[in-house]
Subunit: 165 residues, 2 copies
Amino acid sequence: MSRLENSAEHSWHVAVMAMLLAEHAEPAIQVDRVVKMLLLHDIVEIDADDTFLYDETASLDKADKEEAAAARIFGLLPPTQRDEFTALWREYENRDTADGRFAYACDRLLPMLQNLANQGQSWREHGVRFEQVLRKNLPIQEASPSLWQYVLPKLEAARDAGWLA
Amino acid sequence: MSRLENSAEHSWHVAVMAMLLAEHAEPAIQVDRVVKMLLLHDIVEIDADDTFLYDETASLDKADKEEAAAARIFGLLPPTQRDEFTALWREYENRDTADGRFAYACDRLLPMLQNLANQGQSWREHGVRFEQVLRKNLPIQEASPSLWQYVLPKLEAARDAGWLA
Ligand SMILES: [Ca+2]
């Protein structure tokens, strides 16, 4: 049984994967922007969890906590960088550009490939169903039909092998 | 006592640091190329250690082992990517461009800042001397005089505090 990647490991891994798979994006993307988004994307979530879990913002929803965390973290930087990083983070979160959608697709694709590589370990642990995986990973299809065509038969094989309920 | 970062964590950390410090490079650099170099730079070294430690290439020197490892790893990729990644890796190793020098400087700067942040833990464990740190980190000065001006007084304070021999 393999341990889960921590956030820094995951961020490195998914950024390298984006470099490798960039040519499969459709429409085409700017890989350098995607890499930056992926290097930054988990920082805000961690800060939102760490900083706001039990304090006065506990009643805020996840999106509001993450907005507050982004303002806090990126606010530590000089204004030019603050604005650049905030915009990259928001583009990733909103997925309203091809770059943001492809970055998000990579972030979905990596754990799927990790599951496929270890007999569906976390799928089996959590009783995940095939239809859930299809639905949750629709963003991959939207950002790269060819990558989706690559993984779909593997997901079907995983279902047939009983790794997915 | 803090554990050492593993290679994926280090690569993520130093790539983000390069994004943050890029404006201090002198001459100016292309941060996107530097980030890619830093995301890739440790892969070859790991492979060289893992693959070639005890086998028939044991007599090769470090540089030859790393060349063989680079050919093996990047050779797994389609030719265009193989050539791009090999060139980025070589530029980092050779430090014959501003981008390569700045990437290398970031890779030197990060452990120094980590030492400064934890009372010189690994300096003290290994009895490292102030002059060694100055010499080993000359690449920082070459890639960014202003970053060097920032860290030098901190190194002097570390010496005065006895963290460096
Ligand atoms: Ca390194």
